[in-house]
């Protein structure tokens, strides 16, 4: 499904700010895998996501999606099949446009080429958007004419999730997408994520700082340190792991404590 083959990325090469964010990272993700990712700040989790999404082109190595080499594909081309959610709920929606307009843009992924350039939102589209929005259970289906800027962070993130999965993506990247939300809303958005991913069988990668979540959600757990995957577990072995084991694994894998205050707090 997704294969990262020895990818590397160094930011600001040749300067004092040189930072090797990814170093010969390899990963093989099977169809329908839902892997959680943990790691300290600066381990390269978001950088790996950005490499997959195409925000930048990797310095070395190749990226394959469904056996197609997408290493040099542009971000907007990849985004046809890759959904990407960020920690910041403001990143995924256009604030001054209405809910239905935002959804219409998300629906663009489904349309091939230029045939839909001059079509407007039809009543059929509206009915479909309304139906989808109702699934969120946030009452957004009755606010479709309102600009997204008026929504709360949780509502915006739920909407972004809906938009990213509206047209089923091959791969969904969730970069701590519940971290900026209050606990109740975060729980709700996570439940929503799990049900959508399970229902459609979407292959998914999710960064989290919650160690319980890392072990409970999905079917595989990855641990990153210094631009590499240092621990990878699934199946029986994963089922037996406790949070303490996971922290211990990190120590073994990286030779240091997991230095992340959010991990300790959660």
């Amino acid at each position: 499904m997704l294969r990262l083959d020895n990818i590397s990325k160094t930011f600001n090469p040749g300067t004092v700010n040189e930072k090797a964010a990814l170093t010969n990272l390899s990963l093989d993700l099977a169809d329908g895998d839902f892997a959680t990712i943990v790691g300290s700040n600066g381990a390269g989790k978001s950088t790996m996501f950005n490499a997959i999404a195409g925000t930048f082109i990797v310095d070395e190595g190749n990226i394959y999606l469904d056996d197609e080499d997408i290493t040099f594909k542009k971000e907007h081309v990849r985004s046809r099949v890759i959904g990407h959610l960020f920690q910041d709920p403001l990143k995924g929606t256009a604030p001054s446009m209405t809910i239905e307009e935002n959804m219409a843009l998300a629906f663009l992924r489904a349309s091939k080429a230029s045939s839909h350039l001059f079509s407007r939102i039809s009543s059929k589209d509206k009915a479909r958007f309304r139906e989808q929005l109702a699934l969120l259970g946030m009452g957004l289906e009755d606010r479709m004419k309102q600009p997204v800027g008026l929504l709360s962070g949780g509502q915006r993130q739920a909407l972004t999730l809906l938009m990213a999965t509206f047209v089923t993506p091959k791969l969904l990247l969730l970069d701590e997408h519940t971290a900026a939300l209050d606990p109740a809303t975060a729980e709700k958005v996570l439940e929503l994520t799990k049900s959508i991913v399970a229902e459609r069988g979407i292959t998914c990668l999710m960064v989290t700082h919650n160690m319980h979540q890392a072990l409970e959600v999905g079917n595989r757990t990855l641990m990153m340190n210094a631009g590499k995957i240092v621990f990878d577990t699934a199946g029986e072995e994963r089922a037996k792991l406790s949070v303490a084991d996971l922290l211990e694994k990190f120590k073994v894998g990286s030779g240091e404590e997991l230095d992340n205050d959010r991990v300790l707090l959660s």
Binding site: M97, L108, R120
Partner: protein, 317 residues
């Protein structure tokens, strides 16, 4: 009042307001929607004026508008190409194209800085012959430009609601979101700038026929004047609300600007002073929200300081 403001002055202010409203709408697209300060405007207006004048001179008053539209698309494409494909800063891209257009414009007019259209058929002379008699009388010009602006406004409103139009709006609203929604920002910026500059050039061609002349310096300061109109319109209607409302607001802003200019001229303000006045309107209008925020902060700071002072005095007593 009647001596200060006769009907004919009001009438020509309305006519000019409608014609220049197209430039204001162009900036509505580039400045408000795409969030790009497109400085191609000045040169592009003159380009439309020059192209329109030459084609009119050749005896094709209607073709002149389509030629002008096309020339505007090309100018907009150059600016967009520089900033999206060659990495030139958007403001610089506009300035570069604007400078280059000076040579193009003077070349279009056969290396003369002034072209007269006296005796040529224009949309206005044709309009006068066909509808300029009877009830309509002197108002035929306003009818023509009003109809053109109304058509453009409706088409623009329709376009901004299409998938492509929405993609352009999203590009100015949240660039990161656009890329992750499979929209190519290079494409949307290019289409947006081509569209906005075609409207600017169309306005130039209308002015050429309206004034029966084209002048190499006619576009100077146009971007500031159009921004002033845009801002007046936004102040009138508000920056929120539906697209149609905002488009109408922009047109009203342009008309109001021309009315203000007409009154100023009537009050013997020298014509040369108008550009300075426009510049001040724009500077004040854009600076106002920032200054208001700063002033509110200063006020709190001062109140806080006074509070502490009086507390100190009480403590000492």
């Amino acid at each position: 009042m009647s001596s200060l403001f006769s009907i004919s002055i009001f009438q020509s202010a309305l006519e000019l307001g409608c014609i220049y409203a197209l430039v204001a709408l162009a900036l509505f697209i580039s400045f408000t929607i795409l969030n790009i300060a497109d400085l191609t405007t000045d040169g592009c207006f003159t380009l439309g004026c020059a192209v329109g004048a030459m084609v009119t001179l050749a005896g094709h008053p209607f073709l002149a508008f389509f030629a002008a539209l096309l020339s505007g698309v090309l100018a907009g494409f150059c600016t967009a190409f520089l900033q999206t494909k060659l990495g030139v800063e958007s403001i610089l891209a506009g300035i570069i194209v604007n400078t280059g257009l000076y040579t193009i414009n003077i070349a279009v007019m056969g290396f003369s800085s002034l072209t007269n259209l006296f005796g040529c058929d224009t949309i206005f002379s044709i309009g006068k012959d066909t509808i300029g008699s009877g009830v309509i009388g002197d108002w035929y010009k306003l009818l023509i430009v009003g109809a053109i602006v109304a058509i453009i406004a409706v088409v623009l409103w329709w376009f901004l609601g299409t998938t492509l139009g929405m993609s352009i709006r999203a590009t100015g609203d949240n660039a990161a979101m656009v890329k992750s929604s499979s929209i190519n920002p290079t494409f949307t910026i290019t289409v947006g700038l081509c569209l906005s500059n075609s409207l600017t050039a169309l306005s130039g061609a209308l002015i050429a026929q309206y004034q029966k002349s084209a002048d190499i310096n006619i576009g100077t300061g146009m971007v500031t004047i159009a921004l002033a109109s845009l801002i007046i319109g936004q102040t009138l209607i508000g920056n929120k609300g539906s697209m149609l409302r905002r488009i109408i607001g922009t047109i009203l802003g342009s008309v109001l600007y021309r009315v203000i200019v007409a009154i100023a001229l009537r009050l013997s303000v020298p014509a040369e002073a108008l550009k300075l006045v426009s510049a001040i309107i724009v500077a004040v209008a854009i600076a106002a929200p920032y200054v208001r925020k700063k002033a509110a902060l200063k006020k709190r700071e001062f109140a806080n300081y006074r509070g502490q002072r009086s507390q100190g005095v009480r403590d000492n007593a």
